[in-house]
């Protein structure tokens, strides 16, 4: 069975194995949920994606601020030379 994906019991642990190049898939109906103890996996997955998007947005907006410190230094030197 080694190469086949399988669900087995090992010393009381329940183990889902995928063989090489084969998958194990869990498919719920359109309104079904995947739950891990109390957590709804779908919600957690959408949180992962939301986090990813917000990080992108933050990177973009922090990119704009990138050259501010050098500008401030420049201004300071201008003021001193006045």
């Amino acid at each position: 069975y080694d190469e086949q994906p399988r669900m087995t019991s090992e010393r009381g642990n329940l183990v889902f194995h995928t063989g090489s190049a084969r998958n194990i898939e869990f498919r719920t109906g359109s309104q079904g949920k995947i739950k891990i103890n109390e957590d709804d996996l779908t919600e957690l997955f959408s949180q992962i994606r939301k986090n990813k998007d917000e990080i992108l947005e933050l990177k973009r907006s922090s990119g704009i601020l990138q050259n501010v410190p050098s500008q401030v230094t420049l201004i300071n030197s201008k003021i001193v030379s006045l």
Partner: protein, 352 residues
């Protein structure tokens, strides 16, 4: 006495499948949608397609599991045919044919089962009930008294000797799949307190026990070759053979007397084919032979043999006579007042 439940709903039990064998990898495995079931799985099975019940459980032994089938050829298997798990609802607690009885766990393991009248083939109030570890099962526990009294009950390796622990277990989802019906269990962890023996306590379920034994298709008692067969108390059918009914004093010890019969008579080569059941039963008293009155406890010995034709029951009769002589000589020392014998054989019939 230990009583062990025989049927199981294990995945690997060929008799649980409509084809009489476990499913092969490229078959469609079907569990009925509405069948509530607990299935113990002992090994890993490759499968193509399996429909699970809406309510049920698969208990996985170490190393057990399910694997995807890679489509390779499986000899002797019709691709795409369906194999169904058979109805597990049909097994009833009060069916004498689904229990093994033995006087020790060792005997149970070795298959040294004891013979008993039908009522006592079902667990009695001082019995230890065993559902074997590593098996799943489903039992209908409907009873007319809605209560089943036991000494203890062991389920999947766990022994319950108190009502509280058992009640806890009975709330578990496994228990709900294993037991269905209107009865609750009471376990006392107590042995029979009376050395002269205790009644089994199943007399109230006699009708149900015999109905279960005959099955839904209304099988009846087997035809008998002896004249005037009779029905031992607690048994569903008439028999050929012998019974002895003992009246006893407070000094009577049923275990001690059973051992004596065992060692003095049943161990003799000539009685190798004779089976004996001994237990305390409640004998209905009749007044003027007609009107049932109060009942009295007696100790009933039932003897059956393996003889056939005109010899049917003759060895049982011989043993009964030996026992009656023994009672006449030594009955006092065992606390036996009188013994009454009843026999029915293929060669003659008599009653005393």
């Amino acid at each position: 006495v230990y009583k062990q439940w025989i049927p199981n709903t294990n995945f690997e039990n060929a008799s649980n499948w409509d084809k009489g064998r476990i499913p092969c990898a490229n078959e469609v495995v079907l569990f009925k949608s509405n069948e509530v079931i607990s299935v113990f799985v002992q090994t890993t099975h490759s499968l193509m397609d399996m429909y699970l019940p809406l309510t049920g459980e698969f208990i996985m032994a170490p190393g057990a599991g399910f694997a995807a089938f890679d489509g390779s050829w499986d000899p002797g298997c019709d691709t795409g045919s369906a194999v169904s798990f058979t109805d597990a609802e049909r097994y009833r607690w009060y069916d004498p044919s689904v229990w093994h009885a033995a006087t020790s766990l060792e005997d149970l393991e070795q298959g040294n089962y004891i013979f008993a009248v039908d009522e006592e083939r079902v667990p009695c109030q001082y019995d230890d009930v065993i559902f074997q570890p590593e098996t799943s099962f489903r039992v209908n526990v409907d009873s007319s008294e809605r209560m089943i009294h036991l000494r203890s009950i062991s389920i999947m390796g766990q022994k319950f000797t108190s009502d509280m622990a058992l009640a806890d277990y009975m709330q578990s989802s496994s228990a709900l799949r294993q037991f269905h019906g209107n009865s609750t269990f009471q376990v006392t962890n107590a042995r029979c307190p009376d050395k002269s023996g205790c009644e089994c306590g199943n007399a109230g379920e006699h009708g149900q026990i015999c109905a279960a034994l005959f099955g839904d298709n209304g099988t009846q008692c087997p035809a008998l070759v002896c004249k005037d067969p009779f029905q031992p108390i607690g048994h569903c059918c008439e028999i050929c053979g012998a019974t002895i009914s003992l009246e006893y004093t407070s000094g009577f010890d049923i275990r001690q007397y059973q051992n004596r019969l065992q060692h003095t008579f049943l161990s003799l080569p000539k009685y190798a084919g004779v089976q004996m059941a001994i237990s305390k039963v409640r004998k209905p008293q009749t007044f003027l032979g007609i009107v049932p009155r109060a009942s009295v406890p007696v100790v009933q010995i039932v003897l059956l043999d393996d003889k056939t034709g005109s010899q049917t029951g003759t060895h049982a009769e011989q043993l009964a006579e030996d026992i009656m002589h023994d009672i006449a000589e030594h009955g006092d020392t065992f606390g036996i007042v009188t013994g009454t014998m009843q026999v029915a054989t293929g060669s003659n019939s008599s009653g005393q």
